[in-house]
């Protein structure tokens, strides 16, 4: 199975039905209705937590838990969205998370795509074994080596600084893997022609490969950004000072501090999800492609 993003892209653009009959047969409308019913039910179940989160953030605190439950609030209260900024260090958390996400993404995209070129387009002894090592670590749970990694980081004096998270996330194997898959789908003749024209490998990477791999770069950028934004365990272990807290850590401390302020907590939750939701909706195509690529060449 040799899949590239081109095949993966079809998933997004047109859901080519592999199993649609050419003509409608009797009984088909019933099946179709059943399909919709299942989909609607599944969507409702999937969206319930989000719905609850949003309506609770638009209620007063006393109205969050009522019996019977109010699924549609009587009146919309925007107050929480003003109060949260005073009651929490939201600005600091968002700033830290932003710094981390941008730095990690930039490093991961650069080092990942650079290394992927070496793996995909330059032939040298030991290359394939090394790549296997890379892929192998994707299959290993991070939790199994987080202890020695922490000890190493404290020796490097990186703990309790934003650098620790940058170091932790920026050199992951995922970027290398994803970019290599894409480069391999680019015909060898292109780089061969550039080589004959006297271009160096670095030149080919910069002026042939990078422009051609924009969709893959977009996928990697979005996936890395979202992963870093949502990471909870890394910051939990490495960032101890309150002024270093990321949005995830901050939200969690806020939850334990104001554990009776349900509406405010929901407001914080909405705010922590919102940026990612917007990014996801804007770049959905690239998410789908990226995941399809990582999935199909296991």
């Amino acid at each position: 199975m040799d899949l590239t993003l081109d095949t993966a892209r079809r998933v997004e653009d047109t859901p080519v039905p592999a199993d649609t009959p050419r003509r409608q047969r009797p009984g088909r409308p019933v099946l179709r209705a059943l399909g919709y019913l299942v989909l609607v039910l599944a969507a409702a179940a999937l969206l319930l937590p989000f719905y609850w989160m949003v309506i609770s953030s638009l209620k007063t605190n006393n109205d969050v838990f009522t019996a019977p439950i109010k699924w549609v609030p009587d009146s919309i209260v925007w107050r929480n969205y003003v109060d949260i900024w005073q009651k929490s260090d939201m600005t600091t958390w968002l700033k830290n998370t932003m710094i981390l996400s941008v730095a990690v993404t930039a490093l991961q995209v650069f080092t990942g795509s650079f290394a992927a070129y070496g793996f995909a387009k330059v032939r040298f002894p030991g290359r394939d074994a090394l790549f296997l090592l890379y892929v192998g670590t994707i299959a290993l749970p991070w939790q199994s080596y987080m202890i020695p990694q922490f000890i190493l980081m404290s020796h490097l004096r990186l703990t309790n600084s934003l650098w620790s998270i940058i170091a932790l996330q920026a050199f992951g194997a995922l970027g290398v893997f994803l970019m290599k898959q894409y480069y391999e789908s680019i015909p060898e003749e292109l780089s061969e022609a550039a080589r004959i024209d006297g271009m160096t490998e670095y030149g080919i990477y910069r002026s042939v490969m990078l422009p051609l791999s924009v969709p893959a770069l977009a996928s990697l950028t979005l996936l890395t950004f979202v992963n870093t934004w949502n990471d909870y365990l890394g910051p939990l272990i490495y960032l101890r000072s309150p002024d270093l807290r990321t949005i995830q850590l901050g939200l969690n401390t806020f939850i334990s501090q104001y554990n009776a302020e349900y509406a405010l907590i929901m407001t914080g939750s909405v705010l922590s999800v919102l940026p990612i939701a917007v990014i996801f909706l804007l770049g959905q195509r690239y998410f789908v492609e990226g995941i399809a690529t990582t999935g199909l060449k296991g």
Binding site: P15, A115, I237, S272, L296
Partner: protein, 301 residues
């Protein structure tokens, strides 16, 4: 003779040149990868045989940690709970993801919308998701038990506050969160099955059910294999979800291996013993992956 030597020397020079160029590309990433992933993995196997808290140096204790491990009740509880989670989470997520993918692979209106919806849980922050689910699960005021009351279950389960129901609750949230991700992978896999195969099966008179087993399932084998491997590893390392949803409780009813490592290491500062538990987690994931690879190889042979 002379030309052959020269040719060989030229080839040698080319290999040498390519090696240098190749490594120069790998280096920026490889340095970070080696220092932060490969070196820790090697250190892990040394630490597992030492006794060490943050202060002082690691002391070699031989197999003492492993001897302690086989008599550690909490370790067995964590192992058992991890397997409990794995055994239910894998098939549930697999089937849910496959069903969704099959539904979304048809020409229905609004397919793009449903795909977005299904993927949403995966990109939501785990802190927010766990909090909201805890509220939803709240036995007396929560909407889930309120819905159950509507269909006649007067005494709904205690969910995250009951030792019996906490693990099912965690499994439900885990499945909710991940099925959209695996659905996308299945969807991509479905696109690779040639439409002619379905046509041929239809000509042979196979109905939808038969076509599913005779065309879809074999066609999806590589995808299913990949999904199973990823789900297995994902289940064995489940951690942040549990930490935020139940914190391992009530009691030790949802304590899992990863969390036990975290507890021993970062809370109780027993880095040596925590590494020993890590080695077990490492070994399990390694073995399971190898076994799955072997099974897959035999099946496709």
């Amino acid at each position: 003779m002379a030309t052959m030597v020269r040719a060989r020397r030229r080839r040698g020079r080319l290999v040498w040149r390519n090696t240098v160029v190749g490594w120069s590309f790998l280096l920026p990433n490889f340095v970070g990868f080696a220092v932060l992933t490969l070196v820790p993995i090697v250190i892990l196997f040394y630490l597992a045989f030492t006794s060490w808290n943050v202060f002082g140096a690691a002391q070699w204790v031989g197999t003492a940690n492993f001897k302690r491990l086989i008599h550690d009740e909490s370790f067995y509880t964590a192992l058992k709970n991890t397997i409990y989670y794995t055994v239910f989470h894998i098939p549930l997520t697999l089937v849910a993801a496959l069903l969704l993918a099959l539904l979304l692979n048809r020409k229905l209106r609004g397919v793009a919308f449903f795909r977005t919806v299904a993927f949403f849980p995966y990109i939501t922050s785990i802190v927010a998701a766990a909090y909201v689910w805890n509220v939803l699960f709240s036995p007396e005021y929560g909407p889930i038990n309120a819905l159950l009351r509507l269909i006649g279950v007067t005494h709904g389960p205690g969910w995250t506050v009951s030792a019996t129901w906490s693990m099912p609750a965690v499994i439900i949230v885990g499945t909710w969160r991940e099925m959209g991700y695996y659905m996308l992978i299945f969807l991509a896999g479905l696109q690779t099955i040639p439409a002619q195969l379905y046509e041929a099966a239809r000509v042979d008179g196979a109905n939808a059910w038969h076509r599913f087993w005779a065309v879809t399932v074999p066609g999806l084998r590589p995808t299913t294999f990949f999904v199973t491997v990823m789900l297995t590893i994902g289940s064995f390392k489940v951690f942040d979800l549990i930490l935020l949803l139940t914190n391992g409780g009530p009691g030790q009813s949802t304590l899992v291996l990863s969390q036990y490592i975290y507890q021993k290491g970062f809370i109780e500062n027993q880095f040596g013993y925590a590494s020993t538990v890590s080695v077990v987690l490492f070994a399990i994931c390694f073995l399971v992956t190898i076994v799955q690879f072997l099974i897959n190889k035999r099946r496709s042979a």
